[in-house]
């Protein structure tokens, strides 16, 4: 499997009247062809900024790329002009967003919104484009597609609108689909339908998916690899079994413990994480999690831990997992 997307040391900041907000602080990762990578984190950790930056959807200014490269099929997205981006966005890389109702244009018929993307990126005449539209609606399991193309978004349910969004995203058969919280606005039974559709499309077309979510259940269901993000940094990455069965970063462990499980007894209390994430206006120099971590040591406050690899695919950024920490008992200072 080749690398489809290779992000190297990406940093993004926002210039505001109070100073610089460091939303993304040096992240590196890659996406292989045909795999699903989940990026998990709490609100404000920078996951949506990161996904927007991959297709230059951030408003610049105030946002700006501070450093790093985003290599998509070997070409650096950061260096692309807006004109060049238009050939990539919606064509090779597509996005679906959290709220399907506001993402669709309320004054345009469904069919026209789908055809827009086809006409832009493909050399098809009107009839062929219309046929392709119906095909796309069938791909996302919309009943009676001929009837739907002449309807407006307000005539459809939210779940139906999200399927239209997926159809629009998939028209030009993109290599990469970025799904930013695709089911957060949906009910569980509809969520199950949408996740099934996304899996089906991936099996059929071999699309790579970046799935941004905070729902660990969806992560367990959908992803091959998982990246845990906290305060603009990646703190742990591994394949899905490694993350769920053997979390190495204290934040990952606590995140997993804070979700109520269906088989949990009512007298058990949830492991809450006290406090709240740091302000990215002046982010801490050391580990961003140190003030909420019950295993924090002196070094954590002042020095950012590097990646410690536990297997070829699994790393965590925590001083406890540093090879030098092996000899000290847990919680003692180095």
């Amino acid at each position: 499997m080749g690398k489809l997307l290779d992000v190297k040391d990406l940093a993004i900041s926002f210039q505001t009247c109070f100073g610089e907000i460091e939303a993304i602080r040096g992240i590196s990762f890659h996406i292989n062809k045909g795999e699903t990578v989940a990026i998990v984190g709490e609100s404000g950790c920078g996951k949506s900024v990161m996904s927007g930056s991959l297709v230059q959807l951030l408003q610049m200014p105030p946002a700006y790329y501070k450093s790093g490269k985003i290599l998509f099929q070997g070409e650096d997205i950061v260096q692309k002009s807006e004109k060049e981006m238009r050939d990539i966005r919606g064509n090779k890389i597509s996005m679906i967003f959290q709220d399907p109702v506001t993402s669709l244009n309320p004054t345009m018929k469904i069919g026209k919104q789908i055809i827009e993307g086809i006409v832009k990126h493909q050399d098809l005449n009107k009839d062929e484009a219309r046929k392709k539209t119906i095909e796309m609606l069938e791909l996302v399991s919309i009943p009676q597609p001929e009837k739907r193309v002449v309807q407006y978004p307000h005539e459809l349910s939210i779940g139906m609108c999200q399927r239209i969004m997926i159809a629009i995203a998939m028209v030009s058969n993109p290599e990469l689909l970025i799904a930013d919280e695709p089911t957060t606005a949906l009910d569980v039974t509809v969520q199950a339908q949408i996740l099934d559709i996304m899996k089906g499309i991936q099996n059929k077309l071999g699309t790579s998916i970046i799935l941004i979510t905070h729902d660990l259940g969806i992560v367990a269901d959908m992803s091959d690899r998982v990246i845990i993000m906290y305060a603009g940094k990646f703190v742990e990455e591994g394949n899905v079994m490694e993350i769920f069965n053997n979390p190495m970063h204290p934040y990952t462990g606590k995140l997993l413990g804070s979700v109520p499980r269906l088989n949990m007894s009512r007298s058990e209390s949830l492991h809450s994480i006290e406090g709240s994430p740091p302000d990215l206006y002046k982010p801490p120099a050391g580990c961003p999690f140190f003030d909420r971590c019950d295993k924090a040591m002196y070094i954590c406050e002042h020095n950012m831990p590097k990646r410690n690899y536990h297997s070829d695919t699994h790393y965590s950024c925590c001083w406890l997992n540093c090879p030098m920490a092996k000899d000290t008992a847990e919680g003692n200072e180095i």
């Binding site: 709490e42 367990a220 269906l262 209390s269 994480i273």
Partner: protein, 327 residues
């Protein structure tokens, strides 16, 4: 036999949407809530669970039905009597960003119920009570003079809880209190609500769409679908042995945060969407999506009946499902 704190009987709330049509948000629900317990109400958006919660504490006037509290039907009370009753009912709202007045400092937000009921004439006593309440929810004195925008979502929800506790209520309606919060913060609020219940002997009506949180919080759970309660049971029993086909589908749709289990489980994917609650037909509301549908389901509305001890289901084929004859 324990006496219920609140009895809801055949409660209905219709909204007139014009042209002789009615949106039947809540269409005849009945249940009891016992002192000290948490009664959970789950369902998907539009099923009427929030309307039910609001009608029970008379934020909406009901179309029909009664809610009995202290041997009185609260809908018969006059404005003045209702104000006295309201001291015992409070509500925690879903969106902590919208439910706190942005121009009021926290001390006034928390003390507003105290002021309305003229509890304290002395400002020192009032302040002492505010600080006591803030401490109760894990905030402290220094927060009292700040404004809502200075707090994070979890802290704002704590302020909302402090306000709800100000008058020592007996009964609190929690309407999706965690759904606007991050998972790690949700756990903080869940633990706080449980601690408060234990220490202050509160009774909750807990409304949420997140089934795993409802299971964690509630003693008994009612599942709503299009204005009806279709299943009602002890929370353990409901989650382990769901009977109504809708409950089964709903539970199987929850993604489990464990890759081995999640990928091996059988998921019932329902076709279609929830039908419109405007002028629904007088048959089983789930009929169009149910895998076990019969002719009788299309003609007659099933009543909520006790099929096992303390386990109520509104389904014509409940007995067959219990017997394992349908699979």
């Amino acid at each position: 036999m324990k006496r219920p704190l609140i009895s809801v009987r055949n409660l209905k709330k219709y909204f007139n949407v014009g042209r002789g049509k009615f949106l039947k948000a809540v269409d005849g629900i009945s249940f009891d809530i016992y002192p000290g317990e948490t009664f959970g109400l789950v369902g998907e958006s539009g099923c009427g669970k929030s309307t039910a919660g609001r009608t029970i504490i008379r934020l909406y006037e009901p179309t029909d039905g009664e809610t009995i509290f202290n041997d009185k039907n609260i809908y018969d009370l006059s404005r003045n009597e209702m104000r006295k009753f309201r001291r015992d009912f409070q509500m925690i709202f879903q969106n902590p960003y919208a439910s706190l007045d942005p121009r009021m400092p926290v001390r006034d937000i928390v003390a507003e119920p105290l002021d309305i009921h003229n509890i304290y004439s002395n400002s020192n006593e009032r302040r002492r009570r505010v600080i006591e309440l803030l401490n109760l929810v894990g905030l402290d004195e220094k927060h009292a003079d700040r404004f809502p925008h200075e707090f994070s979502g979890g802290q704002r929800q704590r302020i909302g809880i402090a306000r709800a506790l100000a008058l020592n209520p007996k009964f609190i309606v929690c309407d999706e209190p965690m759904s606007a919060l991050d998972v790690s913060i949700q756990a903080q609020i869940a633990n706080l609500l449980k601690d408060l219940q234990r220490n202050l002997g509160l009774t909750y009506l807990f409304i949420a769409h997140d089934l795993s949180i409802v299971r964690y919080m509630s003693d008994r759970v009612g599942v709503m679908y299009l204005g009806h309660i279709i299943e009602l049971a002890d929370s353990g029993d409901l989650y382990d042995n769901p009977i109504h086909p809708y409950t089964q589908a709903l539970l199987s749709a929850i993604p489990i945060p464990n890759p081995q289990e999640q990928r091996n489980k059988h998921r019932i994917v329902l076709g279609g969407d929830v039908p419109s609650p405007i002028n629904p037909k007088e048959n089983c509301r789930f009929e169009g999506r149910c895998p076990y549908v019969l002719d009788v389901c299309k003609k007659k509305e099933p009543r909520l009946r006790e099929v096992k001890k303390n386990h109520f289901v509104a389904c014509h084929r409940a007995n067959e499902i219990i017997g394992g004859m349908l699979n």
